[in-house]
Amino acid sequence: MPELDEYELVRGCLSGSGRAEEALYARYAPRMFFVCLRYARDRAGAEDMLQDGFIRVFDKLGTFRMEGSLEGWIRRIMITTCINHLRKGWVYHEVSVAEEANDHAVAPQAPGDLGRDELLRLVQALPDGYRAVFNLYAIEGYGHAEIAAQLGCNEGTSRSQLAKARRALQRGVEQLNSTKRHEGAPSDR
């Protein structure tokens, strides 16, 4: 199939072309899969999210107004799908303002030379709520008000979840760095 721009792809999908749908999936699935990997606990969960997300994309494609970026539109649907998956039973960990203040006091350390997969595993190891807030805030660029609206919580909760996520990730990064240092030391000898 010749390379189509995203609007042509949408029109093809709306006209019932299975090839257009497959092409749209092939074009955007890799990025969206990584988005799902960031929100999911594991790879299987990410596959579920991706599948459900693309089904929603195809179902709602008629509402795409051909104005903005198709990738951005798909990403929003995908994030919403991921959040819905995560909301199955998570529990917000409410933290006090004092605890949040302490979190801000944590001095970030240099991340070192960590790989993408290691960082991804750190994110996936976070509790669902931390992970969602951190992804939305740090990577998607949402503000706390938007996150609160998206997750159905208040902004304070969003802030505290973000702080805890950062602290957990900070610890994870430090552990990874120390592990790497320990692993690299014998070889230096």
Binding site: G16, F33, F34, Q51, L61, G62, L119, L120, Q170
Partner: protein, 489 residues
């Protein structure tokens, strides 16, 4: 104001625009759950099940395998049971000279049994059926003075599977040749006692074996959506979704799409008679039995929002059942009586007179009623999708043209209902249907629907002139193989 944090920047930089190739099973799952497949065997051969069903239905029908007797479609056998002569009537004919020596004329000749040729022929003279229902029976049984013609008809045995002389032709025939019927000797004439047989119609195959044939809708089990979450739940250590899992996105089918469907249905049908003459209606109702009916047709539909759709189509249906009725009515019977005057074994003179008698006539009539129906249905439907499966309801109205291709019906004659030929009698009526709709998406564009349906005639659209009219009532299963011309999601 958004705060910047080194951790945020680290992870955003590393993970923000990363990509990862999803496994192929994700796309396969999407395809399955959305209810279609890319070009494959099902897409190419999805029409085969309905074609086989329709072909099988046609073959079953043509082979007469619907449990009915293998009567000739056009045969209507009429059997005179008894002919009790009650009173003599005035002689009407003029005498004529006889050239040969006849049998001795006796007064008992006036009581000649009703099974003579002339009697059988003359029965039709007193026939006073409603002309609207009589059709052309009067012409087919018109009085004739040619005994041979009547004899030809009598020689055709009743309930015989041999082909009749003509479609829908009324055949008058005895069950077994009676001595009196075979002889013209006046001294053998005798009265047969009236056997008042109950009007119990024997249970016909049509009545006893009308059990509807319900085809089994086969769903492809391998095509059922495979939930990754379910698979994952079966893996130790991997969490399954909780009970408050939001419902999966459902492929609701194409919206604003036009579909074309071939339909095939098997129904059990019974006709209900309506009219003003209660006696007539009761007699007609007594001849009706539930019988199988098949339909085939096309349906064109337009999918709307939220699963609503409208459809219009054209369907053709056929049905048949055995008609049985014991006609009992008061009729005039005419007999020819020959008077001979002899002197010393010489015939001096002779003359023939027609003697009319008036009495109850009982005759068993059997025929096979064959109907055809053209329907123009307009239906409103709603359905909801559950993956590949759909469930919903349909309701609609249909203009129906019901035609009796051959067979018999009843008309009111003097003293009771009589069987008359009903060939080509046509009724136009409005019918209504209510149905459940169960669908399965074979591919993206092909879908197979099973529709358990209840249908009934509501009222006639054509003028009935106060004559009784029949409203069919059907219950059965209609299958629909639909092809979506313009799917959109």
């Amino acid at each position: 104001m958004k705060e910047h944090h080194p951790i945020d920047e680290l992870f955003a930089h590393a993970l923000g625009d990363a990509v990862a190739a999803p496994p192929a099973r994700v796309w396969r799952g999407i395809v399955r759950r959305r209810g279609y497949r890319r070009p494959g065997a099902l897409r190419r051969w999805g029409w085969l099940p309905l074609l086989l069903l329709m072909g099988g239905t046609a073959g079953w029908w043509l082979a007469g395998g619907n449990g009915q007797q293998a009567l000739h479609p056009a045969q209507m056998a009429r059997t005179t049971e008894t002919g009790g002569i009650v009173e003599p009537a005035a002689a009407t004919s003029t005498s004529k000279e006889a050239a040969t020596m006849p049998q001795a004329a006796t007064p008992a000749a006036a009581e000649r049994p009703a099974t003579t040729d002339t009697t059988a022929v003359a029965e039709s003279r007193s026939f006073a059926a409603d002309p609207r229902l009589r059709g052309d029976l009067g012409e087919k049984t018109a009085p004739t003075s040619h005994p041979g013609a009547a004899q030809e008809k009598r020689d055709i045995p009743a309930m015989h599977p041999a082909p009749g002389p003509k479609g829908g032709q009324v055949v008058i025939s005895p069950v077994a040749p009676a001595p009196a019927a075979a002889s013209t000797r006046s001294d053998e004439a005798h009265l047969q006692p009236g056997r008042a047989e109950p009007e119990n119609r024997p249970e016909t195959a049509a009545g006893s074996a009308f059990a509807p044939v319900v085809p089994v809708l086969l769903a492809d089990p391998g095509a059922a959506p495979v939930r990754l979450a379910v698979l994952r739940a079966s893996i130790p250590g991997v969490a399954a979704p909780g009970p408050n899992t939001p419902p999966d996105p459902v492929h609701r089918g194409p919206r604003r799409a036009i579909w074309v469907a071939a339909t095939s249905g098997l129904f059990t049908e019974k006709r209900r008679w309506k009219g003003t003459n209660d006696t007539w209606i009761r007699a007609l109702e007594g001849t009706e039995v539930p019988h199988p009916a098949t339909t085939m047709g096309v349906l064109v539909g337009l999918e709307g929002h939220r699963g609503w759709n409208v459809a219009v189509g054209l369907e053709y249906g056929v049905s048949r059942y055995d008609f049985h009725h014991l006609d009992r009515y008061m009729g005039q019977r005419d007999s020819l009586v020959q008077y001979v005057v002899t002197f010393n074994s010489q015939v001096v003179s002779s003359h023939t007179e027609t003697v009319g008698t008036y009495g109850e006539v009982q005759q068993r009539v059997a025929a096979e009623n064959r109907f055809s129906t053209w329907r123009v249905p307009v239906e409103l439907g709603w359905h909801k999708g559950f993956g590949r499966f759909h469930a919903g309801m349909r309701a609609g109205l249909a203009a129906e043209v019901n035609r009796i291709r051959s067979g018999a019906t009843l008309a009111m004659a003097d003293g009771g209902a009589r069987s008359v030929d009903a060939t080509d009698h046509t009724t136009v009526l409005l019918g209504g249907t209510l149905a459940a709709d169960l669908g399965y998406a074979i591919t993206e564009q092909w879908g197979l629907w099973a529709t358990p349906t209840i249908g009934s005639g509501l009222f006639p659209l054509s003028s009935t002139n106060d004559a009784p009219y029949a409203l069919p009532r059907r219950f059965g299963l209609r299958l629909r193989l639909a092809y979506t011309l313009k799917p959109s999601h």
